[in-house]
């Protein structure tokens, strides 16, 4: 199976699919029906949320359920952007962008190196160590919330970006994922490279890294979104309004705008806050479907 030529089976396959066309078209309609049904259900609240940011407060509380506003207004966004003294949202967005970008870059470095260590290297107690760390990391965050704050305080990181960038690098979830993907890569690959005298760093850098690219992109996306949307931790470590990331700021806005008093403004701020993560997702998603064939990888 390793040595199939890429182009030829494709041609065969097209002939093959014609033969099975009735079968394929039925499954195609089932797949479509399911996906469209789900898309409609998933999209309605999103559209409703977006259009709410273009509604006046009177309309929100009196017009009943409408997917589109009766009158489109832009006051909410104008107010959000003008209110820079109590709610400097552009500044918060810039802080978040800085934090999430640095955090994500470091995550990718740490998880790929560490994943390599726990998957491709042999040392005594490797799996015991790994599963002990996993076990410890399963304790709910509230157990260590206050002690974590004390450590951040001792390091002098309160009200700095370090408090958001560094602690999250210790997490085990992404490392587990990367390790599992690396376990799936045939051992022969690095063994033959090792016979040729390649060092671990070289194997990591020129062989394994390329093969786990899709999962690294997934982890990067999750880290970015996770860092961007984290709100419990920033609320604890930031007291300085100008240094805050956007989620902590949105929480402030909830106090300023009130839960049901200025829904349009609240929604508008939330919409502004998802734009960067949305752009990253749109950019990253083409890599998920980019087929990497691990089997043909053996040929090296």
């Amino acid at each position: 199976m390793a040595n199939t030529v890429v182009t030829e089976p494709r041609i065969n396959n097209e002939k093959g699919s014609r033969k099975w066309s009735s079968n394929i078209s039925i499954s195609k309609y089932i797949a479509y029906l399911f996906l469209i049904f789900l898309c409609v259900i998933f999209a309605i609240p999103v559209i409703f949320g977006i259009t709410t940011s273009f509604r006046s407060q009177t309309e929100v509380v009196s017009a009943g359920f409408r997917l589109l506003p009766v009158n489109w207004i832009f006051d909410n966004y104008v107010n959000i952007l003008e209110n820079t003294s109590t709610a400097p949202i552009m500044l918060w967005l810039r802080n978040s962008l800085y934090i999430a970008t640095f955090h994500t870059l470091l995550v990718v470095v740490v998880i790929s190196i560490t994943g390599y260590g726990y998957s491709r290297m042999n040392f005594r107690g490797r799996d015991t160590l790994f599963f002990t760390l996993m076990g410890i990391s399963f304790f709910p965050g509230v157990v260590n919330l206050i002690p974590s704050y004390k450590i951040i305080d001792a390091l002098g990181w309160v009200n700095t970006s370090w408090a958001m960038i560094i602690p999250g690098l210790a997490g085990m979830g992404n490392i587990f994922l990367v390790r599992q993907f690396m376990n799936n890569i045939p051992k022969e690959l690095d063994e033959s490279a090792r016979v040729d005298g390649a060092s671990d760093f070289r194997i990591y850098f020129s062989i394994i890294l390329a093969l786990v690219k899709p999962v690294l992109i997934v982890c990067a996306l999750f880290s970015f979104t996770g860092s961007w949307n984290d709100f419990l931790w920033p609320v604890i470590v930031y007291t300085d309004v100008d240094k805050m990331p956007v989620t902590a700021g949105l929480l402030l806005l909830q106090d300023i705008y009130g839960n049901y008093r200025m829904i349009g403004q609240l929604m508008g701020s939330a919409i502004l806050a998802i734009i960067p993560t949305l752009l990253l997702f749109l950019f990253a998603q083409k890599y998920f479907v980019q087929s990497i064939n691990l089997n043909s990888g053996i040929k090296g």
Binding site: A43, F65, V110, N144, I151, A270, F281
Partner: protein
């Protein structure tokens, strides 16, 4: 006989180990220590031994005992309702998107992922409006006169709807990335043998992505045990405490209004951590064994 010490693993595993020690191990250790103390976050913890655990587990008179039992039961209900949906729906989506003849994959994938990008407070606001008796879809479109958050089973339904809506995207992405790594030649060989879609799914796709499946199953379950935001914002624990999950009690005790009872909260968190640990280990063990 001098054995050459291999320092390479230290380089690969060491940096993360230091991070782990400082930012997870030490704080967790301190949290576990705190569970054996009486502590209000202000003054120093006072050692009380197993008192907190005894109260939570065996003192039927105590409110902590009732809170823990009720919270754990509700958390288990949430796990049982949400986890199967958060595994099966994303898997079905990923497989349906794999279908060669399906177009607009990128658009569909984006629509299903976007809810996951919306912060929990904004998401809860949207759904509160959607389920609002006067303003929302339940009253206006379905003609339901019920205040959903205040009645069961609707209270669970709105929590689960919000959870699934926001959570499907993440697992879907993991499955998509995993399926993209499955060798196309395997499918082609199977097609030439006349295998249909269902056969291909069970014989090729499922076995090939069993590690991502284990991962998502374990992590989704562990995440579900930590549920907190959705019930807090959608139902505030009601009606009659039936959606009051354990994490809500823990946070109330530690950081709520009034004097902090952080020692007791830590003990509950440690017990919850042990439950998660046992269940995760069981899942990993069972799935890993059955798959091979």
């Amino acid at each position: 006989m001098k054995k050459k010490l291999n320092l390479a693993p230290v380089f690969f595993v060491g940096p993360h180990l230091i991070l782990f020690a400082v930012f997870i191990f030490l704080p967790t250790l301190y949290g576990i220590y705190a569970s054996f103390t009486k502590w209000n976050l202000m003054s120093d913890p006072v050692w009380v031994g197993l008192d907190n655990y005894r109260t939570i587990l065996f003192d039927t008179e105590s409110t902590f005992h009732t809170q823990f039992n009720n919270g754990l039961r509700n958390t288990l209900v949430f796990v049982a309702l949400s986890v199967p949906l958060l595994i099966v729906i994303p898997l079905m989506v990923a497989v349906a998107l794999e279908h060669k003849k399906v177009k607009m994959k990128t658009l569909i994938q984006s629509i299903l992922y976007i809810p996951g990008l919306i912060s929990i407070s904004a998401a809860a606001l949207i759904w509160s409006l959607m389920f609002n008796k006067q303003l929302g879809i339940t009253g206006n479109v379905f003609g339901s006169d019920t205040a959903w958050a205040a009645h069961q089973p609707y209270a669970w339904i709105i929590i689960i709807v919000l959870t699934v809506w926001g959570g499907v995207g993440g697992n879907m992405i993991i499955y998509r990335a995993s399926i993209s790594g499955v060798g196309q030649d395997l499918y082609e060989a199977a097609e030439m043998d006349g295998a249909g879609s269902i056969r291909k799914f069970f014989s090729i796709t499922l076995p090939s992505i069993r590690f991502p499946l284990i991962f998502t199953f374990v992590m989704t379950t562990a995440g579900a045990f930590n549920v907190f935001g959705q019930p807090l914002m959608m139902t505030d624990g009601g009606p009659q405490q039936s959606t009051h999950v354990l994490m809500m009690y823990i946070r109330q005790l530690a950081f709520g209004n009034g004097e902090s009872i952080a020692g007791m909260a830590s003990a509950m968190a440690v017990l919850l951590g042990l439950v998660i640990l046992v269940i995760s280990a069981l899942q990993y063990y069972v799935m890993n064994r059955n798959a091979t």
